[in-house]
């Protein structure tokens, strides 16, 4: 499984990596802002299986990154992992194309459950579309 982690905090990326070890041995690609993340996406022709994206970052925020990704890729599961918990922000993120939302602070179980739930939903949607 190839996972793109986009967060300006390396500490937060490391925490997420440790939690996601429970998924097996995922291959992580890391970016510190939206621009770096777009470069990662462009250099990964086969795409990623999952993206975890922070909202508040320098240079390009997570919402702008998600909008750019969704211009070409409607399928890759994207989870916003952020402190932005107001209802309006969550709606804004979902409209931009995120599949799920995790509010910081989170427990390892909360993050892992949300990731598993998102992957299962997206796989089911892909299967239905292919049928």
């Amino acid at each position: 499984m190839k996972i793109l982690m986009v967060d300006d905090s390396r500490t937060m990326r490391n925490i997420q990596k440790n939690v996601l070890k429970a998924l097996g041995e995922p291959v992580h690609t890391e970016a510190g802002d939206g621009f770096e993340a777009l470069t990662c996406v462009a250099s990964q022709p086969d795409g990623f299986d999952l993206m975890l994206v922070d909202w508040n970052m320098p240079h390009m925020d997570g919402l702008s990154f998600v909008k750019r990704v969704r211009e070409k890729d409607k399928a890759t599961p994207i989870i916003m992992v952020t402190t932005e918990a107001e209802k309006g922000r969550v709606i804004e993120a979902i409209k931009a194309g995120v599949n799920n939302y995790v509010v910081k602070p989170f427990t390892p179980d909360q993050l892992l459950d949300r990731v598993k739930q998102t992957l299962a939903k997206c796989q089911a949607a892909t299967a239905v579309a292919a049928a």
Partner: protein, 176 residues
């Protein structure tokens, strides 16, 4: 061009300040409890009278939008080392770039979590980190800075909150 007068914002009422401080206290306890497994006890908030931060390590977040101002997460060095290591799940030396990164992320989560209770329309900046004793922090002068003293099993720290509602722009009398 219409003239627009921006009246000075009224100072926050005690009830507003109290409500905001409660949101920060809740956020401090939730963030450190969830991410660092540390129980935080909070003392009585007090008015800060100096631009010097309470301790040596400062994680600073700015607010803009419906509320403006700043929050400073202020640690003594030893407490910062213990808390960021608990947060990261591994020892982090103070001379490592990850030390400032972790302090910034804690500040980001505390401020972001607190502002969720402000009612929407408020944005937070990416964190700035200052390490070392004797630095000063510029704050809004027309609103009190409240200090929330916090204690944990690994030492004390403080959260300094200096925010107010955004001044409202109104058309001047006679403006068209």
């Amino acid at each position: 061009m219409s003239a627009v007068a921006v009246p000075p914002a009224p100072p926050p009422t005690p009830s507003l300040t109290t409500r905001l401080i409660v949101h920060f206290i809740t956020s401090i306890q939730e963030v450190l409890g969830t991410m660092a497994h540390v129980t935080v006890t909070v003392g009585a908030p007090s008015l800060k009278k100096t631009p010097l931060p309470t301790y040596d390590v400062s994680g600073i977040i700015g607010f803009s939008g419906e509320f403006v101002g700043s929050m400073v997460l202020s640690f003594p060095q030893a407490t910062a080392e213990a808390l960021v290591s608990a947060f990261a799940g591994m020892p982090i030396a103070p001379d490592s770039p990850d030390f400032a990164d972790a302090v910034g992320e804690l500040a980001n989560m505390i401020a972001g979590n607190a502002k969720t209770s402000f009612g929407g329309g408020t944005n937070i900046s990416v964190p700035s980190i200052v390490l070392g004793s004797g630095h000063t922090i510029a704050r809004l002068q027309d609103v009190p800075c409240m200090v929330i003293p916090c204690n944990t099993a690994v030492g004390g720290f403080a959260v300094e909150v200096n925010i107010k509602p955004r001044p409202t722009a109104r058309p001047a009398t006679g403006a068209k």
